[in-house]
Subunit: 392 residues, 4 copies
């Protein structure tokens, strides 16, 4: 049998969007309340409170009503002004990409770039800041999803804070799947979303803004206002006493509410643990069957996405197509520079379950063999199983 | 009994968001597919095809992944450049508001403004265009929701087209609830959304772009690109062969798909008819019980929202609160200049049913009487019923 | 406009099934767990605990996996044996109907029957029991839905208990909508369901069984066992330690769980109050517009259903059809002997909201006038509104 | 990590209930219509039409409103009367169990019983019928789920028909997952349900009744009437013109409607193929890792359930518990005589996907090894994968 293109796959193991938790999917269908209805305003305030708790924040987070690229673009547009000197840290396609937005708002862009299978060395940041005391803003991507690699943002954040700089963190695909919180890394703006490890659909940005970042944005005359790119407009929107600048995405808020409940009720530590174990089992299995992990070393391999290097001679696109056609399993390709060079297995939210490591390895291995490789899929499964069993 | 603030009301009869059709609510909970999955790409193309059919377009419409204010701001940002002379037609708060966006992109703004309970006279547009042949762009709001009034956009569109100007139409709260289509009014950009008369939640913009508007935006170097405000980025996103510029709001697309099916299957003419009848019954009832319609005359009163003038001495906010507390019925207030002066009863999507005119009139009348008026609610109900029965 | 037969009506105001609460509808779609899964067994035990709380029981209630007629038939089959002398109290079609089941299991049937718009007089029961000390079992319908009338079961129950008889109560369409609990009326078997005032779909029986009724059924060799009609098989099914005799209706249990939460969280007294107020407003309105209540007096008129006498010369079926076609409002007809003689407006669960009294009166009045009556619908609405306002 | 008892498992691979298709789960939440509403009556008739199509029947099937044990008990009660001589074919716990019901309605019970890992030999039926020309009714279970074995009902049916007997078939857990239809086996009563291979929740019986079986039941004065066990009461319930004997389970009908659409739209042959392939891969994998299939030979192993013999010294209950705790995968135990002797992996509806064979084998193998076995799970996965790939 072959799964046709038009039919839904059996298991989506991508780096996002992933399928949402069933409870979240049902939550999306709650009654759509009028945004000025007191019941909705009370609800909105409550959801922001849950997000604050999940993000372990001392002030209220902001929800923007578009997927996290909206939050990232808005952060650049709001915090960076033409006199800023921005240091952008690029260890992958997404980190690199933020530099283009930064450049739109300030011509003064410095960059530390490392090969896209490596992570930023905090020492290099310290050195750069020392060499360039004029740097005002540092931007970094925590989990550069197209590489499946993690940057040490807590260490970097401490260095930037010591320097007195502002830190913008893209934690879109790490928050909720591993231990990371805005204040752990001293982020001034920290952007994430419900659509990765929280297991909700794409459509919202979840963002923290430090008190001093609020001050700075207010002082920035060029920061977007009366715009969908405005962060400032939403500063007080969390309060049931305050109106919304425009209509919030009611259904997505309903979904976020459930996703936050699930996260908090399961227990963040337990959620992180199953992400970590799934990734660890996947890496062990992949290596045991003869595949290479893209990340230069395990320490920087993401617990929320495993990127597997495409073996020589294998057409990566055909590989993923074979996995879908034969087994109904969907993976992500690379993006930009990593496109064609790797295949990504997501471990996010509802798919961060060790048994899916087995499904992933089998489907990937089977597809590789269909593409002419001679992988020992059984060995891969046994190695993954050993990792899972060792944790039982 | 009193309905508490924290409890969901019984019936939401606002000018949007309104509750979505139950089928749409369930549609939101479909499996979240990966945006690069062929099944999703095929689905997206299919939904755009349905939107094209509903909008009776000769080319493909665009979906932007934020509620329609995103589409309106994006239209201003993409089509208007600094050498343009824009004529903004303002018959209400929303029409007036578009002028501020227009001014952001071109300093040359002309305006025709009429009292906010009247409509734009097409002759005044013809006169203005004759007096100002340098006008390149005309913008108009079809249904100025905060006033519940309708502008004659088909007539205006014909005049603008004869002049050779570009026309931007805000049809957010009229499309789907009455006969209006982009090509009927020769719009170059026509902005609407699923969250009003189509009965879906807020979170998307549905937009048509004429061929010559595409050309003009492409020629505009300042038009947003690589931005959530970009229309250009999404030109080909409808095609299953083309990638998305960023992750689309999968759940909202699922909801839109159902909303379009409902609209097309019920039959647009039938949908418009129940909007019109509900509004007509509401107006007849309101007048019969001694209330005044805000619109200067019935001809310009919207079939999708009825704005009722606040009687002298009545606190409009307390009025709506009484309707909610006593009867569980939620109405909209005015906005900006109309705030406090009127109360709005929405007839949109699932609430565009004549029986809700009865509920609305009773709740509004009861609340008015609680505020010291002496309305004859029974007379209002009988007048509304007579309208409904006359159509049976 | 006319609502076609194939389209869903706008508002269903029947005596059940009524539409379920939106939260219940979504609850039905929870993951279907394996009935032997520990998570399901824990869940089942928890739901039974909630039902026990809602029913204010000192022992565990039983859920049977069919709509309440299953419970009623099972009660007759399990408790009544051939030597019993049963006194059946018939004040309506459903009460009368139970006698046929009773007769199937014992030939010795006595009956007190009153006109179907009246209620059983407790004194008549006392007299009968005195005259027939051999009576072992008394059966009574609390709310005889086809008549919209309520029997005084707490008084009757006290009399039966003093006599030493067993009492079977049909509280299917009263429980959850007014103050009634099994132990209030000293019922030995008390049958209700989620599909009336609890606002869930039909498919389950909710039943209490007194300790002495359990003993009696166990002693009855003819009581169904290994049968879908068995109550005995389910005695211990509530316990997570015990297996189910056959597969329970998982989705219906999921819905019941939500319905019980809603009932307990809103507060039973608050729920009963809105049922009572909706019914009271409906009766006041109906009388004010010139209609007659079927119930002989207001004291016995049900708070969960209002039966309106069909005026002379009116075709009851055509009347309901007109209400549906013109206004999208659905009512119930009578049943059996009351068919054609009355129309029933349900006030159950989500429809037990006073504003629906207005919709009901208008739709019924409009339909009556379409059938040639000359009702003053406005007067009816005003009278109903006065009742609602008096309670505000 | 360990999955706690109270948390939902990751994958339920039981012999039913299995989780329903997501579309079915959402379908359950459709508006609950009044059963006498014309829209519901039209809908009901349409669903019965779809069931007729799926069952490839020349007359209308019947839906009973309880899970299939209701249908089986009702079949015995309705068709078998005290003068009948029943031949019950028992190749497993469920087949054997039907005999107890048969005996309740007729004292004349003959039985062919084979070991519970074998199937009935049609020749033995022919011989028995020849030896006992007085046999009037033959009953057989198609897929004896507690054994995971299939009886050759088409062959048996031809023999019974030639004899002139009536045939009762339990096809609860085979229909929809393999090629079987009532008229293929000349069944007079054929009982199945939505809750196995059709991927809907338990709560309904789907049943075909031959014309001559209708006649026979009508002639049987003891056949249940005015009872939840009645089939006769529902003969005409499919027709929109006819009332229901009691309230149908509206939500379950909504789910069944979707399940039938999914089955018919995917294509029965395609659905059967993925059931068969999943089972085949599971068997190959189990054997390759050193486990034994319960079924005496592959030819009689069910495509919808694979029963694996419990290895000596392994505690079957602990085994399943380990699979759930470590991997979040739930299996079924045996029932009655097979309890403790085997573990069952279901392949039904949404879980009949080959990739779940991999998950099943890994979880079962891992749990076996945790119980002290030394299985080579990798070999099992490779063998299963080879089966899947061979079909690609």
């Amino acid at each position: 049998m072959r799964y046709p293109d038009h039919a839904e796959p059996v298991i989506t193991l991508t780096a996002g969007p992933v399928n949402a938790y069933p409870d979240v999917l049902r939550g999306l269908g709650r009654t759509v309340l009028y945004d000025y209805d007191p019941a909705f305003q009370l609800f909105y305030e409550k959801v922001i409170g849950k997000a604050q708790k999940a993000m372990r924040l001392s002030n209220k987070p902001v929800v923007l009503h578009g997927e996290p690229v909206m939050g990232l673009e808005a952060a650049a547009a709001s915090l960076i002004s033409k006199d800023d000197v921005v240091l952008n840290l690029a260890s992958g396609v997404y980190g690199k990409g933020f530099g283009y937005w930064a450049k739109r708002y300030s011509p003064n862009l410095l960059e530390i770039e490392v090969p896209y299978n490596e992570a930023i060395d905090p020492q290099s940041v310290a050195d750069m800041l020392k060499a360039h005391p004029e740097i005002t803003i540092v931007s970094v991507c925590h989990h550069d999803t197209p590489s499946g690699t993690i940057n040490p943002i807590d260490e970097i954040g401490a260095i930037v804070a010591a320097h007195g700089g502002y830190l913008i963190v893209d934690a879109v695909s790490s928050f909720g799947g591993m231990k990371t919180h805005p204040e752990d890394c001293k982020a001034d703006i920290y952007v994430t979303g419900p659509n990765k490890c929280l297991g909700a659909p794409p459509g919202l940005t979840l963002m923290s803004v430090s008190d001093r970042a609020w001050e700075r944005m207010k002082a920035n005359g060029a920061a977007p206002r009366a715009s969908v790119l405005s962060i400032l407009d939403w500063e007080h929107a969390w309060s049931k006493e305050k109106p919304f600048p425009f209509t919030p995405s009611v259904a997505e808020m309903n979904g976020l509410d459930v996703a936050l409940d699930l996260y908090l009720n399961e227990g963040p530590e337990a959620v992180w643990a199953r992400h970590a174990l799934t990734a660890k089992a996947t890496r062990a299995g992949a290596k045991a069957m003869g595949l290479s992990i893209w990340a230069a070393n395990e320490k920087i391999a993401s617990p929320t996405t495993t990127a597997i290097r495409t073996p020589e001679g294998v057409d990566e696109k055909a590989l993923r197509q074979a996995a879908r056609e034969r087994y109904g399993v969907v993976f992500s390709s690379g993006r930009g520079e990593t496109l064609g060079k790797l295949t990504r297995i997501g471990h996010m939210g509802p798919t961060a379950q060790p048994i899916y490591a087995i499904a992933a390895l089998t489907a990937l291995g089977g597809a590789m063999n269909a593409a002419g490789q001679k992988l020992q899929v059984g060995k891969g499964v046994e190695a993954a199983l050993a990792v899972i069993d060792a944790d039982a």
